[in-house]
Subunit: 329 residues, 2 copies
Amino acid sequence: MNVLITGGTGFIGKQIAARLLKQGQMQIDGKNQEINKIILFDAFAGEEIPQHQKIQVVTGDITDKNTLETLLSDIDIVWHLAAVVSSAAEADFDLGMQVNLYGLLNILDILRHQKRHVRFIFASGCAVFGGELPDIVNDQTVVTPSSSYGMQKAVCELLVADYSRKGFIDGRVLRLPTIVVRPGKPNKAASTFFSSIIREPLKGETAICPVQADTPVFITSPRRCVDAMLHAASLPAKRLGNKRIIPLPGLTVTVADMLQALEQVAGPEAVELVQWQEDESIQRIVQSWPAYIDAPYAESLGFQADANFSEIIQSHIQDHPHMPSTVEV
Amino acid sequence: MNVLITGGTGFIGKQIAARLLKQGQMQIDGKNQEINKIILFDAFAGEEIPQHQKIQVVTGDITDKNTLETLLSDIDIVWHLAAVVSSAAEADFDLGMQVNLYGLLNILDILRHQKRHVRFIFASGCAVFGGELPDIVNDQTVVTPSSSYGMQKAVCELLVADYSRKGFIDGRVLRLPTIVVRPGKPNKAASTFFSSIIREPLKGETAICPVQADTPVFITSPRRCVDAMLHAASLPAKRLGNKRIIPLPGLTVTVADMLQALEQVAGPEAVELVQWQEDESIQRIVQSWPAYIDAPYAESLGFQADANFSEIIQSHIQDHPHMPSTVEV
């Protein structure tokens, strides 16, 4: 089977590709299907792409329907990860709409006309929530996006669910927690510092924390995220029925919890590299996100949260061993 | 001020226009604004259009952006009622997407670039709900559309809310109950019989009821619907803040309740004109809609439900006195 990962040169896309290469096959509806081709499609060529004859990196514009038609012509599974992130979609409304909404609409339209019922995994996120929220958000909490990015994700969730109900695609929407620790460099997401305050100190570099230490956040590790991406693809359609929107479980930690785990793993000198420089705008955005989420539907389908934050740091170090670290792993 | 009503030659559009003509003005942000022009835009020329120099009927295609740009050039308030109804949008997916989703996206895009912060009232509906629902739906119930029409309405709600949050428009979304008694002829909506079983017997004609007598439905009369449309337009933006989606209150009645009221108003001979011919498909669709809805947000804003079904029948007869009726009014 042939795989397309949009936003594929990002860190989650690369890790899905690496995992697929390692497995060599995927179990789909009880049958083992060999992976023949993995296209990583992105606006950027990216770095550290897994090198393998089955992997093709294609750079292009996701708003260009002709490009998408060519790309999708022989694809069996799509992971649709491409997105303009929250701050960028808020700053440039047109760009966010073009990539986050019309990009998806174009793909769905092409897949519908192909009539091949392609398996389609879509990365949504907790940005569908905002404003006044219950203390604990769950599967039954009404979405209330307070950013255009969140609105676009919420809209796409509904589109993927309906295209699936109609039998045009076989869609699975994962509503992801904030991913921490992200490898690489900071991006334009308001949440980017949650990774920086762990990642940079592990490299012996300083990082700025713009929120208060008691600020909670609902997270998943990249490993659990990739687990979820693959698990979502292998779930039989009949287990999902028309319930295609799957809010994922995650771990709630405060910044203080995160730094305590950092100290356990990398010593007090790592924590001292975190500089406190409050940014009211970021504090406000982060506080608008739900920090406590129950995800019984996802758990009933076998999705799992991380056990604790120390493990998340350990797995980050294991997955990125080339980074200078103050600890031996 | 200049008004555009899309789907304007439909019965709600015509009644809004008639009400605006009668008032001559609207109170907007504490000021009385004179109504100078009312454009009824629709795919159909319609019948019984209010005749007045201020009223223009324009027929055209709502998916044509050039048409919309011309129409919207000097408009201050839009009531966006145009839609492909539920059964039709389910049968012709492309048509539903083009009219119900892209039609709205085009209008929003034009209004955004005009930068005039146009007041925009959007007619959504209870079709955003479906499948497993709580016994009583309320403002906090997550949308779960089980039709493409419902998905399109749910998506448009989110779009109007976000365009309003960004200050591109001043939007107000009304999530309408089923409208009963609709005047005129049956349409392609699965709910159309709820009106037929009252309207046709009042004219001495037979009507078919495809559901069981104990089937409940959540309704509003055309009068209350038009009241809500005008009230929504006159609410100050600051009373709404970012809460732009307003699920409206309504009246829950069973088919049996409706026919009992019909008997009170028009005698047992009217009720005998209703023929029972169960249609499982319609029964299933109607049962997927929420029958009991609490709407505290709308009520806090001054929206009101009908008092009882007898009044709804009486107001139907008053508003359509030219129809032969078995009772004197």
